[in-house]
Amino acid sequence: MASKFTLSNRTGWLMAGPAIALIAGFVILPFFLAVGFSFTNQRLVSPNPAEFTGLANYRQLLGLGVLHLDPLKDAAGATVLDDQGQPKLPELRSITRKNPDYPQFDGMREWFSWSSGAGRTYVLASDVVFMKAIVNTVLFVIVVAPVQGGLALGLALLINQRLRGINVYRAIYFMPVVVSIVVVSLLWSFIYDEKQGILNNLLGALSFGALPRVDWLGNPATALASIIFMSIWQAVGFHMVIWLSGLQTISPTLYEAAAIEGSSKWQTFRYITWPGLKNTAILVLVVITMQAFGLFSQINVMTQGGPLDSTQTIVFQAVQRGYGKQDISGGSAISVILFVLVLSVSLIQRYLTRERN
């Protein structure tokens, strides 16, 4: 429409200007502020101006070290044994507390370790909690993205049948999507409760009391899994609808042709439905991944990162620092790390799902 009648710089900026200004001020500016603050010691309220501190925040968050310790030997060269008769290792603290021989490990703590040879190998981290937060968040994404996407597709195929009253089912499956995840989290913390919870009551009744009562959110082994299950329950309807709209773009003539050719249900799905859903699949995967990386409300309401940091997440850590400790620079550095993670995962997904012709 390049005609002189549609050309108007004044109108363009006048109509788009307000929205552009708001997005510039409240999305783009804070994005660059996050990058900027992450290299300083900016605090929310401080009498002193912020100083440039280089990579200090990133080193504090991401610092890692590997250390192998051999058993102590006495003057004669024999291995020193401890009270239990095991070879005695030097104290880890003697190395990570201001030891001039190991400046690179200063202030680090043990993340995990294993026995190797006579001694032990330690993986040390400057911020063990943040490392756990990264692992938990990535674990959450790795489970939720395929499971939620897959279940949503299953529901969409189920709902896409021509059956009387199918719209009622569709409406019910979608219902949790309009309920706030904060409400859902508090409601499910009752369902998951050890003593009074419905889930334990139900499992007990189904097994005639054979199954023990589990403290779903209070046990490090089950807490994250419980949050994953609930999160999928709340959001799966959203992606079901996106799959449904994808299914409806597939031409019915293709299905008719397949029926005439006598293809099986699986063949129809494999060669007609799935190829027709390719773009939808990429969209669903990318959207779930982005949402899953933002995991926060469930943690804030249900577990506060516990028990034993088993539900710490990246965004929960960002809020604890940036808001709780008013450490804007630390929170910003976490935000930047999160963005880099989200971006790299989306790029990898794009690459893996690219057109291969």
Binding site: A19, I23, F26, S335
Partner: protein
């Protein structure tokens, strides 16, 4: 291939409906339980949680939990704040984003393509990654009010509204919709001498019912259900929305009856609204997927 006999078909129909109904139970029972429990005293609520009674409005039914919830927290204030923040944001968002999308789709101007590219690029920036620097920004921003210029937006309505008026997704939805409108119509109106604003108001907006509904529903859900941002910027009770108000019920010894009453109170209106406008809600989510 097996022949589909009438018997066979009937059986398959039963299986299908059974599967559909079992899944429906998984999605609806927690919400039904929430609503039914809100009418029960705490002891009965806990006892009922062992049986099917948990899903039925039987026993000692009353509104006492609701009265107690109102005593525990200024529930009316929270509801007022949420309604105010959500509705103002939705209205301003529809106005500014549709105007911007109009300029992006129908008007030729310098910087248009670059601006649109940058706006669409913001779609890959999750809010969680800008929340912390935005908190600092909001704590320093100026505002001209009755008492002259003041600095700092924390504890206000504006801090919950202004940053969320314009967003890439809403503009994208409008642009996608406007692209399918007949461009010749707009150009013809220009040739006839109609002003841009008249075209926007008299021609384009009246044709935009579906996309306005879509954008309004998505914005409404996002705003009403917001949590991360308001817990950081509303330290004062006066400005807290309903989701932050939940924290008044977090105590160690949780009064579940009151909690269920509060949860029902802030959820049932949205659920009712959804069930009433079900087709529009589902269409709005579906439209975020089309052409994506």
């Amino acid at each position: 291939m097996a022949q589909t006999t009438p018997d066979n078909r009937g059986l398959r129909l039963v299986v299908r409906y059974t599967v559909l109904t079992l899944i429906a139970a998984i999605f609806s029972f927690p919400l039904i339980f929430m609503i039914m429990s809100s009418f029960k005293p705490a002891e009965q609520l806990l006892a009922d949680a062992h049986t099917i009674r948990a899903l039925l409005p039987i026993g000692d039914i009353s509104l006492n939990n609701y009265f107690d919830a109102f005593k525990r927290a200024p529930v009316g204030l929270f509801v007022f704040n949420s309604v105010l923040v959500t509705s103002v944001t939705v209205v301003l968002s529809l106005a500014l984003c549709s105007a911007a999308a109009f300029a992006f789709t129908f008007v030729q101007w310098k910087g248009r393509d670059l601006a649109l590219t940058v706006i669409l690029a913001t779609l890959i920036v999750p809010f969680e990654t800008i929340a912390i620097p935005l908190l600092l920004e909001a704590s320093k921003l100026p505002w001209i009010g009755a008492s002259g210029i003041t600095y700092g937006w924390i504890n206000s309505y504006r801090v919950q509204i202004v940053p969320f008026i314009a967003d890439g997704l809403t503009i994208y939805l409008f642009v996608q919709y406007f692209k399918d409108l007949p461009g010749e119509l707009i150009e013809a109106a220009r040739v006839e001498g109609a002003s841009w604003f008249a075209i926007y108001r008299r021609i384009v907006m009246p044709l935009s019912g579906p996309v306005l509904a879509t954008a309004a529903i998505l914005k409404f859900l996002a705003m009403y259900n917001q949590y991360l941002w308001p817990i950081m910027v509303t330290q004062e009770e006066q400005y807290r929305p309903v989701m932050v108000g939940l924290q008044y019920f977090f105590q160690l010894n949780r009064a579940w009856g009151e909690i269920m009453a509060y949860l029902s109170l802030i959820t049932v209106p949205v659920l009712a609204f959804y069930l009433y406008l079900q087709k529009a809600f589902i269409a709005s989510i579906a439209s975020t997927g089309v052409k994506g």
